[in-house]
């Protein structure tokens, strides 16, 4: 745990403006005799309250990067710093525990961080209300739709008292209509709670729709090859011209990158 530093804001004099900071982070895996470099000298700073989207073709080390920030894995070299209270992680699959109801799934996250029983019930109700699933506390995951499960997973991530949310293609398995609505919901929740989000996706439109900043990663090894700030002027729609324009730019950049691998 020497490489990943959790720095609670309270112990640090003077407000820091970053929530996640990677400094020349590399990660290598040994698979048999082969040596796979997943991330190569990645430096990245996410400001507190910022919504950063990471896009890249498969094999760009997106998931590796999230695992490092979540503290589930250690970098080979470099430093990963997280300045938030806690990090919550969401995957493409909701990863809910099938033997617990929706409410109990959220409650377990509260219990795991030691919230006393008396206040757990109320907090569960509030969190389910936040993701607009108030009436569904007693349903089991398999009784809910894909979009609803993902919202329970979001409530569970929030229950971890996370102010930094790492999302690994969380809406990748949903239909376009549901995904579109969850974009609106996520935007609202992030604004209400001032969350910092690091959002991995392979969907360029989704990245352009959601991000304050879109970062393009190269493949094998993963490197930062482009950065696009997205000026925020009120709520965006996935079918608005600005989003479409940025999506086109990002697609071109990604194609260029893939073309290099084709040679």
């Amino acid at each position: 745990m020497t490489e990943t530093r959790l720095t609670p804001p309270a112990t640090r004099p003077g407000a820091q403006d970053w929530a996640v900071r990677l400094t020349s982070v590399s990660k290598a895996y040994r698979t048999g005799s082969a040596h796979l470099l997943a991330l190569d000298e990645v430096s990245l700073t996410v400001r507190a309250g910022e919504f950063v989207c990471l896009i890249g073709a498969s094999g760009c080390g997106k998931s590796t990067l999230l695992n490092l920030v979540a503290g589930l894995d250690q970098p080979t070299t470099g430093v990963v710093e997280v300045g938030g209270r806690r990090v919550g992680l969401m995957f493409q699959e909701p990863a809910l525990f099938p033997w617990l109801t929706a409410g109990r799934n959220v409650e377990l996250a509260l219990r795991a961080r030691g919230v006393p029983r008396a206040s757990r019930r109320q907090q569960v109700a509030e969190l389910l209300d936040t993701v607009r699933l108030s009436g569904f506390a007693e349903q089991r995951p398999h009784e809910l739709s894909g979009g609803m499960r993902q919202r329970v997973a979001l409530a569970r991530a929030l229950a971890q008292d996370a102010d930094v949310l790492l999302m690994d293609e969380p809406f990748g398995a949903l239909d376009a209509m549901t995904r579109d609505m969850l974009h609106d919901e996520l935007e609202r929740i992030c604004a209400d709670r001032t969350l910092t989000v690091l959002f991995v996706t392979h969907n360029v439109r989704e990245a352009a729709r959601l991000g304050d900043r879109v970062i393009v990663l190269s493949s094998r090894p993963g490197r930062v090859i482009a950065e696009h700030p997205v000026p925020r002027r009120g709520p965006r729609r996935i079918d608005s011209p600005e989003v479409a324009q940025l999506a086109a730019t990002l697609t071109d950049r990604l194609r260029e990158e893939m073309g290099q691998h084709g040679n």
């Binding site: 990863a95 377990l108 607009r132 739709s145 609505m181």
Partner: protein, 287 residues
């Protein structure tokens, strides 16, 4: 808000219909489950009666009529129920000890890699060991008596129970483990809230198989081990054998079979309830 309304509509569309629980439907379901079993029993009785009518082994083989009336007589006597009581008490004690031993060993082997390397294949090997082969060993070690039977029941049932638990722990979905660790579950809490609940279906399957082995070991034990005290089902069976009482022996066999089936059904019911709660059961085939 418009998004909110649309979301609610989408949620309602996504949820399935409510199950019909009217008495007529339940009765129809019960009948659908019962008739193949009744038909199978009727077929067995028919074949039995036909064999009896051919006059094969005429001196000893009795027809279903004689045996069933003998069974009916037996059911009305206290001796059978006392024997069932003695046997079930042994079954319960032996199974509970096997449960404790099997669960403890399973948990230790699943958690500690060197133990797994040492014991993993031994556990698999023990599952294939015929329980009757343990009796000479058990009788030498414990002499004639209940301890020998309980020992063989443990050797029969504990490996299956341990193997079920180990399988369950091994097959805990890695994604759930990742989710649990992110949540801050570590060490004992990780086992209590994640790994053990996730292992439950495989564990129950192991318990069920363990019961079958324990029951077999017990029956073999009551036949080969002589015990001072009130007779169990095995002793009644032995007496019938010595008296060449075909009807009596067959009646006891039917009783043993029924007990085995009833307990197995209880395990299957628990298993299905568990799977249904987790959405692992196709609702269209849930009998």
């Amino acid at each position: 808000m418009a998004t909110n309304q649309a979301l609610r509509g989408l949620d309602r569309l996504a949820l399935g219909s409510v199950q019909d629980r009217s008495p007529v439907r339940l009765a129809r379901k019960a009948w659908a489950a019962a008739w193949p079993k009744l038909l199978a029993v009727a077929l067995v009785l028919l074949v039995w009666e036909l064999v009896h009518l051919t006059g094969w082994k005429d001196l000893v083989l009795k027809g279903p009529g004689t045996v069933l009336s003998d069974l009916w007589q037996m059911v009305q006597h206290a001796q059978l129920w006392a024997a069932v009581g003695v046997t079930m008490k042994r079954a319960l004690i032996g199974y509970l000890v096997a449960l404790l031993v099997g669960s403890a060993v399973g948990l230790l082997v699943a958690r500690i890699p060197p133990l797994r390397a040492a014991l993993g294949s031994i556990i698999t090997g023990l599952q294939t060991m015929p329980s009757i082969a343990w009796y000479p060993f058990a009788i030498i070690l414990f002499t004639q008596g209940e301890a020998a039977i309980v020992f063989v029941m443990i050797m029969g049932a504990a490996p299956s129970i341990a193997a079920g638990l180990i399988t369950g722990v091994d097959y805990t979905p890695p994604l759930l483990l990742r989710a649990g660790r992110t949540m801050g579950l570590r060490g004992l809490a990780l086992y209590r809230y994640l790994i053990l609940p996730a292992s439950l279906p495989a564990y129950v399957a192991g318990l069920k198989q363990g019961w079958a082995f324990a029951w077999r070991s017990l029956m073999a034990g009551e036949l080969v081990v002589s015990i001072v005290g009130p007779p169990g089902l095995g002793v009644l069976l032995n007496t019938d054998q010595n008296n060449l009482d075909f009807a009596g022996a067959t009646s006891i066999i039917i009783v043993i079979l029924i007990i085995g089936i009833v307990v197995d059904m209880a395990f299957s019911k628990a298993d299905r309830a568990l799977r249904r709660r987790r959405g692992l059961l196709d609702p269209s085939v849930s009998g």
